[in-house]
Symmetry: C2
Subunit: 225 residues, 2 copies
């Protein structure tokens, strides 16, 4: 991350300040949005009576809000409805780093950690719009039938403002202890990306329907910074 980007931003709260390697931290909302828009899933934590619980779930963004959704029966989603604090983490893995020491082995990544409280989206029409926006987030270009009333009523949509967050990015590749560079072992970076394989049509697809281009050319990293 450039020093310029760093300077432009400050944490909005003590808990969202990057403590370890603050040089890798940022509080720039545009950087956070790019990471979120590339991600498909996030991890959401709440504190239940027995301690912390995490669920992996799909993520989307609507303006300056993160939007989560889930069944009315989901324990974590229901807990969020009660106004409890949550922590949401979005992580993109960019490479495996092979250093010359064990502690020089690492990974390049981009992540956003967001703290806050969720607010339920109760307006039926807004929920319907969010369904379409979610489809467009996960599979841009894909068309679906209109949601049914029971589907809307059995699903909770929640917004968490993208406000109290930190971004942390490691993008430096190999960073060995100075004297290790003289070592005789190989060191380098192996880039990783989430890539799409050959599309599998639904086995019950009508024979006259062909695989669309948006599926054949699916590429999650198109929004990559």
């Amino acid at each position: 991350m450039t020093r310029e980007k760093q300077k432009k931003s400050k944490p909005v709260s003590a808990r969202s300040r990057v403590r370890l390697r603050p040089d890798r931290g940022s509080y720039d909302i545009e950087i956070a949005k790019k990471i979120i828009d590339e991600a498909l899933v996030c991890h959401v934590a709440v504190n239940l009576d027995f301690g912390p619980a995490i669920i992996p779930t799909s993520i989307m963004r609507a303006g300056d809000d993160i939007v989560l959704h889930g069944s009315i029966h989901n324990r974590v989603i229901r807990t969020l409805l009660t106004g409890q604090e949550t922590c949401i983490c979005v992580t993109l893995l960019d490479s495996v780093v092979a250093g010359r020491s064990g502690f020089g082995c690492s990974m390049d990544y981009r992540c956003v950690v967001l703290y806050g409280m969720a607010t339920e989206v109760t307006d039926r029409d807004e929920k319907e719009r969010l369904v379409y926006a979610l489809v467009d987030t996960i599979i841009p270009g894909h068309n679906v039938r209109a949601p049914k009333e029971n589907e809307l009523s059995e699903t909770i949509f929640l917004k968490v403002p993208l406000k109290e967050f930190s971004v942390k990015i490691r993008d430096v590749g190999v960073l060995d202890v100075e004297e290790d560079y003289a070592g005789d072992m190989w060191a380098g970076r192996i880039p990783l990306s989430l890539s799409a394989g050959p599309v599998e049509d639904c086995p019950r697809l009508k024979p006259e329907i062909s695989t669309p281009d948006y599926a054949k050319t699916y590429n999650r990293t198109q929004n990559k910074a």
Copy 2:
């Protein structure tokens, strides 16, 4: 998941029971191990004074234990040292599912959710062995110099028993509402995998050292079930 795998296993506690879509749940440790062995990162949650906090971190397995490591300055790692409850989630994303409705759009995934408490690994030699095991987990075949005493002393290694866990797997692809199959929209599954790009040698690599095969053929899904 086959019905047979299902029958073989039961949750060891109430909190680790899969509540939603229990037909997708399993408590089979061999299935959990395969998922963990394919993963590079996990998300770890603890409850801090302000509420839940998550960190993404690298994961490895040593027998029937999950091993985490981190700096002695890491807030979440330090909290785990105090014997607090934690939740650790490992998620592998296998596909994006394009259904014929918004709620028919989904993802295939494999995940492990583990609850428990961490125990510190304090023995110096065991810590050293874990450093090598970690390198071999992240980059199989890679050689590194021996860890230095300050590196070992400044890093905390923690074990969490792989005991109170659940596995949840969605692998069914398109699962639409029955009447939707007659619809005229495309539906299908787009497989996703974490794939390695061309290796980048460390810019300061000694010129006589060539890129090893284990880097050129890096493949995270080799352990795929």
